[in-house]
Structure formats: C-alpha cells, structure tokens
C-alpha cells in the first residue's frame, strides 16, 4: 500500500488521528478499494470510530496487492506511535508539504514519511501487528431520530459542561426541542452535584427528525474528539439515535471523506441496575460471565450495558436467528487477546474448517476461530449471532 497526502490534507489526516486517539490505544489501518480506512475502538467496546479517506483524497493511492486469501492487508499500530508523527498540528500545517504512508506486508514496518520544507524528510518506521477486521455493526437507517447541525452549534453546546464530565444525555421531543444535560450516575449524590442543562431550539439544526420523545446518554469524551475534527472540517454533523441502549451514530461526510463514530448508550437512564437481565438469559451457552474490565469512562457502571455489536465470524450458517440486541457477554480480556492471536495464527495457516469463503469477517472479541485446545476460558467455539450482517459503512 502506498498513499501520498499533500497540502492541506496532511493536516486533515493529523486531525483525524487526534480524534481517533481519544477513542482507543490502537489504530487499525486498512487500505481498501474504497479508500484508506483508519479505525479505533475503546477497550470496553463502547466506542468505535472509522475515518474512510477516498482514493481521490490522496495524490497517489495504491491499495496494494491482496494476500493469498484474497483479502486486503490490515494492520494495527500503537496509537501513541502514530499520533506521535502527527502530534503538533500547527507544525504539520507550516512545515509538511507531503506525507507518504506505505505498508509492505513483507516488511516489518509501516512507514510514514513527512516531506517538509527546506528539504527535510522525516521518516517514521512504525511496527505493526496484523489484525482482523474491526467492524462495528450499526445501521443508521434503523434509527428513529436524526439531527443534523453545523459542528459549531454542537461545540458551543458542550462548552458549558466541565471538561471532566464523563457522560451527557441528549434529549429530543417531537416539538423540536433538543437538550443536553450532564448525566449523574448512581454513585453521585444528587444533592451535591450541579446539574447543567442546555436547550437548543430546532431552528439551530438543519435537520430534526424525531419520532418520539427520547433521551440517550453517551460518553462525552469521545464525542468531543469527533466535534473538534468536525469543527475544523466545516462539515455538518449528523446524529442518528434511537432508544436508550441502542448505539448513537455520529457521521460526517463529503465526497472525499466519511467519518463514523458509534457510541454505546446507557440502556436505561433511570436505573442502570436493571441491566439486560432478560437478554443475558437469552444466551445461556455463553459460559461464565467474566468480570468487567475497568474502563475509565464508565467506572462503576455495568459494562455489559455498553457493548456495541461487533460482527462475528460466519461459522454460524444462515439458519441461526439474528439477535437484534447487543452481545451481552463480555470476554475476559485475557481471552480476547488469546483469541486474537490464535485467530491470526489460524488465519495464516488457513486451517479453519468450514468457513464460508465469501464471509471472512472475524470478530476480534469472540474467539470463534479458536480450536478447542486453544480455547482457554472459552468453552469451545461459541457462535453467538450478534446482529445481522449489515452494511457497516453506509
């Protein structure tokens, strides 16, 4: 893969990386025929973002050859390393004329080369890991409510909330009122905490389509990351959401770039204790429910309520029913890593029997390609269907 970014677009890539760095610790890089995608997901799988740069965004775009399985090469790099290349946006703007990103699967490095003024070239060799596809399942067409506003309006809205605020509740009513309110979780005492609410009228939005009154609560930190990108790009921001518990989808698009941010929302704003007890029971074959990994944004909350559906492998055939809800099982972190590495191994060996050739997505998190000997804490290849195979990027 070789991509050459020139001029003002270098800063756009830089800003995108900054935005993704608010989400996760690893940056997933995948060149496709539709363009270069940069993705990230957070450790609790409650936030996912994807920036897809069309081939025309680049002065030169070579996707690279497909690997023996017919798949494009994918890898992930440490966010910290990649961000380090683009750390100072002002100096990117002033000094960098071109940026060349190249990836050779046979080499051991992802090379980012900045061609700067005065004949200076900075070459960064980043180590990468091959990885599986990172694809969240979501369909904004299924969301009941849509809002569109210039990023400026939303930036001005969230400025009233403290920088440390973890979660914000977005409310809409059919009358056209849109409100943002800071969310108080169960552990904060209401008689000691300030509550801030901002009401915007529908005039401030370009689109307000609300089917019924609803409130969704999502993490502000990741949203702010997208907002700062949106503000600099001058594109309007679309927000698609539904009932509490279903993910909120934030999108920006123009002919050269498509951005998606998917954030899980609190399942029930009134009492987070009633978490998914019904749906948990629907998957009795899941085995032991592992303890939640602490996540800075939602400490104390039941992590299970924030899972976004991730596409799974297709060892399950078309006969299995698709579940409209999210996977409630949260893999033990050790197992997740394990499954990833063993998935890689089996991918390389090409030894997974029975996998239909056209659907090669594999979940990072649900170890479906584990052979019994590598299962570890997974009781065999559990094939929970998490959601329909929907068009992830549309």
């Amino acid at each position: 893969m070789r991509c050459l970014v020139t001029g003002g677009n270098v800063k756009v890539i830089g800003k995108a990386v900054h935005s993704l760095s608010r989400i996760g610790d690893e940056l997933y890089v995948e060149p496709t025929e539709d363009g270069l995608s940069l993705r990230a997901v957070n450790s609790s799988r409650s936030a996912y973002a994807c920036f897809l740069f069309a081939p025309l965004f680049f002065q030169l775009y070579e996707e690279g050859s497909l690997d023996p399985d017919g798949e494009t090469f994918r890898c992930k790099v440490l966010m910290k390393s990649f961000l380090g290349v683009f750390r100072s946006l002002p100096s990117l703007e002033k000094m960098v004329e071109k940026c060349l990103i190249s990836l050779n699967p046979r080499a051991s490095r992802l090379v980012v080369q900045l061609h700067c003024k005065y004949g200076v070239t900075k070459t960064h060799n980043l180590s990468f890991q091959e990885c599986e596809l990172l694809q969240a399942v979501f369909d904004k067409e299924l969301c009941a409510n849509t809002l569109r506003a210039p990023a400026r309006v939303l930036v001005d809205a969230v400025v009233h909330f403290p920088v440390t605020l973890a979660e914000v509740t977005l409310g809409v009513s059919p009358a056209g009122k849109v409100s943002f309110r800071n969310y108080l979780d169960e552990e904060t005492e209401p008689s000691r905490t300030m509550v801030t609410e901002l009401c915007l009228s529908e005039d401030e939005f370009q689109v307000v389509q609300v089917q019924q009154q609803s409130h969704v609560t999502f993490c502000l930190k990741e949203f702010r990351g997208l907002l700062s990108f949106a503000e600099s790009s001058n594109l309007p921001l679309n927000i698609h959401f539904d009932s509490p518990g279903r993910p909120a989808i934030f999108t920006l698009s123009d002919p050269l770039l498509e951005v998606h941010l998917v954030l899980a929302t609190l399942s029930d704003p009134n009492s987070s204790s009633q978490v998914h007890s019904a749906t948990l029971q629907a998957h009795p074959a899941n085995g032991a429910f592992p303890t939640a990994t602490p996540d800075d944004d939602f400490t104390g909350d039941d992590i299970d309520s924030y899972m976004i559906a991730m596409e799974t492998t297709c060892e399950e055939g078309p006969g299995l029913p698709s579940s409209p809800t999210f996977p409630q099982r949260r893999p033990h972190p050790g197992a997740a890593l394990e499954s990833e590495s063993s998935a890689m191994e089996s991918d390389l060996e090409g030894a997974v029997p029975g996998t239909p050739p056209q659907k090669k997505f594999r979940s990072l998190f649900f170890g479906s390609v584990l052979t019994p000997s590598q299962a570890g804490t997974h009781p065999g290849p559990s094939q929970d269907v998490l959601a329909e195979d929907s068009e992830g990027e549309s």
Binding site: V153, V159, H160, P190, M194, E197, L198, S201, D203, E204
Partner: protein, 282 residues
C-alpha cells in the same frame, strides 16, 4: 423565602464573575448571606479551614439589574445559604457573552440556586443554559455563627506591597518552607521571612505607608516604637491562596497584624470589600 436576581450588563457580569472566582479560590464551601441591599460571602474560622475566616461584602445594586429577596420572616428579612462557590464560578464561566443571567432560589430535588443563562444564538430563539447548584439552607438559629468579625486590636497596620510582586515572592518561598513570618512596623516597612534548617530567606519592602485609623485602635499604636516589628508566623499556603485568588488589583490593600496571634487582611475594590483572617501558627 424567595430570591430572584438578574444581570443584563456585560461589564457587571464580568465583574461579578471575577468576584465569584476569587471567592472560589479562597473557600471550598462558604455561606452566602442575602439581604435586601447586599450579598455576603462568609467563611467562619472553623478548624476545618485551618482557622481562616473570610468576610466579603458586595452591594447588590452595583451588579444586578433586578434583585428581589424575601427572607425567612418579616423581621428577619435575610437568607443564609451554604454553597460551593466553585459551582457558581463554573456556571458563570461560559456565560460571559450572555444576554441575561438570572439567579434564583429554587427547590428541585433539593434547594438549589439556579443560574439561567440566556445566550445569543443564530436562530430566532435564544439558547438557554440552566445550572442547578445545590445549596443548603441555614436555619435561623445558626445565623449567629456568621456575624461580621470585628477589627482586632492590632499592633501594626500597614499597606501591602503590589500584590503581584508579593505573590511571586511568596510563591517561591512556598517551595522552601510551609510557614512564613510576616512582620511590619509603623515606618512602612514589611519583611517576609522563611527560615528552615538549611536556609533562611527574607524579602524587605520599604516605603509602604501605614493607614490612618480613626478609631481607638490607633491609641494603642501611638506609644509604639515605629521601628519595632509586629510579627506573625502563618501558613504560607493560606497566604498564597489569598494572593493568587486576586484577579484584579484592589483599590486599597492593607493588613493588620496582632503580634503572634493573627493577621487581618483588608482588600477593597470599588464595589467589593474582602476581609481575610489568617491565624498565627503556634
């Protein structure tokens, strides 16, 4: 009990915000006393504060366009509230370009001071931000705890040096010691001293001037040797809190020293007066 007030003037709003910011730097929680004419921010000398106390007085007319207060009873037409000034500071922070700011006492899930900010927006209707700040209503039987402190019988009264200079000196001394000795005499001289096992540092200020006091307290100082220093050893962090919190240079800044007992600071601005007491360490 009712309280509603409104600010429409941008300059008044900025000024009020600066006062609140100063208070927020001095006290984590304090008492807000509302009367028909004035607002008071009071901190009493509890052990929890390290014995520090504060009395800040504002004339409401200088800030508010509208001010309606109905106290707990006709003969006690005042309201005492316990509040965290940092919350008020945060609410006002993003309100600086507001069309109006209304503050009222409300009862939501608990008694609250609600700050409603009307902001300009591109659309026809304004944007409204409301902040509900939980407050505690202080019952009348406790009001005696919050009386205005009297000026102590001081040994020396002296004008302070330029606060910015004083602050930068004290800031550097803070790295060397936890206590600072503040001493001054009736000749307009003040010294700030720290002394540790390894090092002692003194900064000398001269020509500061001594304020004339018209009441009886001057008598006790009349017999005093003008060169003789009155001193008090105080917690350096408390002094720094006071100096660092000042956002605007006061019109008048002075301190009264009761030797080895207490230092009483008075900072006067046009519409605000602030008194701050720091007790001497043993």
């Amino acid at each position: 009990m009712r309280f509603r007030a409104k600010i429409v003037d941008v300059a008044c709003l900025n000024h009020f915000t600066r006062v609140i910011n100063t208070i927020a730097k001095l006290a984590k929680t304090c008492t807000l006393r509302l009367t028909v004419d004035k607002l008071y921010f009071i901190l009493t000398d509890k052990v929890a504060n390290g014995g520090v106390s504060m009395w800040c007085e504002l004339n409401q007319g200088n800030f508010f366009d509208e001010f309606q207060m109905e106290g707990v009873a006709a003969e006690h037409n005042e309201i005492y509230l316990e509040l965290t000034p940092e919350n008020l500071s945060r609410a006002l922070k993003t309100a600086q370009n507001a069309k109006t700011v209304k503050i009222k006492l409300t009862n939501k899930h608990c008694p609250c001071l609600t700050v409603a900010v009307e902001l300009p927006s591109l659309s026809s209707s304004s944007r409204i931000v409301t902040h509900d700040i939980p407050v505690g209503v202080i019952p009348r039987r406790l009001w005696n705890d919050f009386r205005e402190p009297s000026v102590p019988d001081f040994d020396v009264s002296i004008y302070l040096p330029v606060l910015k200079t004083m602050k930068s000196v004290v800031e550097r001394m803070k790295n060397l010691s936890n206590c600072i000795v503040l001493e001054a005499n009736l000749n307009g001289e003040m010294n700030l001293k720290i002394e540790t096992d390894l090092v002692s540092v003194t900064t000398h200020f001269k020509g500061l001037g001594n304020p004339p006091w018209e009441d009886g307290s001057q008598n006790s100082t009349q017999d005093r040797d003008p060169e003789s220093m009155a001193e008090a050893r105080i917690d350096i962090r408390k002094l720094l809190q006071l100096l660092a919190g000042q956002q605007v240079n006061p019109t008048k800044a002075l301190c009264n020293i009761v030797s080895k007992r207490i230092v009483h600071f008075i900072l006067l601005h046009e519409e605000v007066s602030l008194q701050y007491f720091i007790p001497a360490l043993a």
